[in-house]
């Protein structure tokens, strides 16, 4: 009888843990709109950096002086 009670209590405990687990899972949202907004801003910022790098004419600045040396 005591063994049976122990089993039941153990089972109750396990089932409670499972239920609490389910609760936690249900409470955690899959998507977070605000976080998505924040990440949209982060990606926008890195987009600015890459555009800056792509459109930079710094590499072409040497062309003028390079062309001046064309004489031989």
């Amino acid at each position: 009888m005591i063994k049976m009670m122990k089993n039941i209590i153990l089972m109750a405990l396990l089932l409670s843990i499972v239920a609490i687990g389910c609760q936690k899972q249900a409470a955690s949202p899959v998507t977070a709109p605000e976080a998505t907004d924040a990440s949209a801003i982060e990606s926008g910022m890195s987009d600015i950096d890459s555009v800056n790098a792509d459109l930079n004419t710094q590499e072409l600045d040497s062309i003028e002086s390079d062309l001046d040396k064309i004489d031989w």
């Binding site: 409470a27 976080a35 910022m45 600015i48 555009v51 459109l55 590499e59 072409l60 031989w72």
Partner: protein
């Protein structure tokens, strides 16, 4: 006995499952939604009757006043002031009316029942708020209204008005297929530019090596030296052609960037592409001069032609690339501005739950100030680019374009500051227990109801 225990365990498990369901799904209270709504409406009505009709009129006046969306800014602030001047019970009723208006719009939601349920919960929370809690909520609501007004004004902003909320804050919509192709083209143009740059560097190095050999051949007329003298002509031509190629691939890269850029309006994109096409044809013309050059003099003349063409387009290009970068910065500013209003909504919901948001509000104020700094620098940069484009003097145009680029850098720095503050705000909201509010889906009904408060009169009349 065994059976009793078994029932006990099963009951315990079922109870756990029931409690595991989110409130938004099962709700915390029983009774039908319409009954709840009726009850709250009756409460509001009773309150109004108790306090007299003048309060209702005042609330209506307050709402009507805030509705004057196209009024001068000073008047808007004065109207928000009217809401600010409501006493606590007037404000409580005002809030309830707002929520009821939102509830009335719940049928537009996909999950209208959930929308109704959430609003019911919030109506109860507002009903239970202490005077202190109401006072805090009132302050946050004023901030929220101000932000919504600001956001509405941005729709008519000469620079930021092009980013449409219904287009995910893009200035133009490019079809998915077209955008995919444009992005692919942009990627290819970047690769082609790198190849052209490498060819340029290699041909320059080769030219310099042969140039050194020509120098060694000074006064020497043997066959080898004569061959080197012939060779250098080809090397010089190759170097000049690769110079033109390098510039052309850079211009193609700029063009491809514009084609795949949704932060530029259709007109802006067309205007930049037309100008870049002109630049391309100028370099192509210079390239033809290089190709047709035969002797040393002609080659040196061709080098002057390409240099002149490059100098002519360089400043124009600086203005156009400035506009492209500005479009990206503007796209981020408008998203941050929209986020400012959303943050106030989150704080308002937290206040409804009696969560103190004072310290978060200070961070939000800093965040807003940084964004305003970025907006100001962005606007000043655009002015500089306009002036530079209008200037006929090359030097003035160069200076203005440079100032514009520096201002864009300042705008970018301010936005980086906003970004850091945003991380801190989100963390603080979570720590204060507002994570659910932060993660809650956008309530369209509430947004629309709040938007009605700041709707332009013509719009409001039409919807009425």
């Amino acid at each position: 006995m065994k059976r009793t225990f078994a029932y006990l365990v099963i009951s315990l498990f079922l109870l756990s499952i029931v409690s595991a369901q989110p409130d938004s799904v099962l709700g915390r209270t029983g009774g039908s939604l319409s009954d709840d709504m009726k009850q709250v409406r009756a409460e509001v009505k009773d309150n109004i009757q108790e306090k007299g009709l003048d309060i209702k009129e005042q609330i209506k006046e307050g709402v009507k006043a805030v509705k004057e969306g196209d009024m001068p800014k000073e008047d808007k602030i004065k109207n928000i002031q009217q809401v600010r001047e409501m006493n606590m019970e007037e404000f409580r009723n005002f809030q309830k009316e707002q929520l009821q208006t939102a509830a009335g719009k719940c049928n537009k939601e996909i999950n209208s029942e959930l929308c109704q349920k959430n609003i019911q919960e919030r109506l109860k929370l507002v009903g239970k708020l202490s005077e202190k809690g109401l006072n805090s909520l009132q302050k946050v609501e004023e901030r929220k209204l101000e932000k919504l007004n600001e956001l509405k004004e941005l729709k008519n902003d000469p620079n930021l008005g092009k980013y449409k909320e219904n287009q995910e804050f893009k200035a133009r919509q490019i079809t998915k297929e077209k955008l995919q192709n444009a992005k692919e083209k942009y990627k290819e143009s970047k690769e082609k530019y790198i190849e052209a740059r490498n060819r340029y560097n290699e041909s320059q190095q080769k030219f310099n090596e042969v140039k050194a050999r020509v120098k060694e051949c000074e006064g020497n007329e043997d066959a080898e030296c004569n061959q080197v003298r012939e060779e250098i002509k080809e090397n010089a031509k190759e170097f000049l052609l690769n110079t033109a190629g390098n510039i052309l691939e850079h211009l193609n890269k700029v063009k491809a960037n514009v084609e795949s850029n949704e932060d530029l309006s259709e007109e802006e994109a067309k205007e930049i592409i037309a100008d870049v096409d002109l630049m391309i044809s100028e370099i192509e013309d210079a390239k033809s001069v290089i190709e047709s050059s035969e002797d040393k003099e002609q080659i040196i003349e061709a080098s002057k032609t390409i240099k002149k063409a490059w100098l002519r387009i360089k400043e124009r290009l600086a203005v156009q690339t400035g506009k492209i970068t500005a479009s990206k910065i503007g796209g981020v500013i408008i998203k941050v501005k929209s986020l400012e209003a959303k943050l106030e909504r989150v704080l308002s919901r937290m206040e409804e739950q009696s969560i103190d948001t004072t310290s978060i509000q200070s961070l939000v104020d800093e965040f807003n100030a940084k964004t305003d700094e970025a907006k100001l620098s962005y606007e000043q940069a655009l002015d500089k680019f306009k002036e530079a484009a209008a200037s006929d003097d090359l030097e003035t145009s160069k200076t203005l374009a440079k100032e514009g680029h520096n201002l864009l850098k300042e705008a970018q720095n301010s936005l980086q500051g906003s970004q850091k503050l945003l991380r801190s705000i989100l963390l603080n909201i979570k720590q204060a227990g507002g994570e659910d509010e932060l993660n809650a889906p956008e309530d369209q009904a509430e947004q629309e109801a709040a938007s009605d408060l700041t709707t332009e009169p013509a719009e409001a009349e039409a919807s009425a």
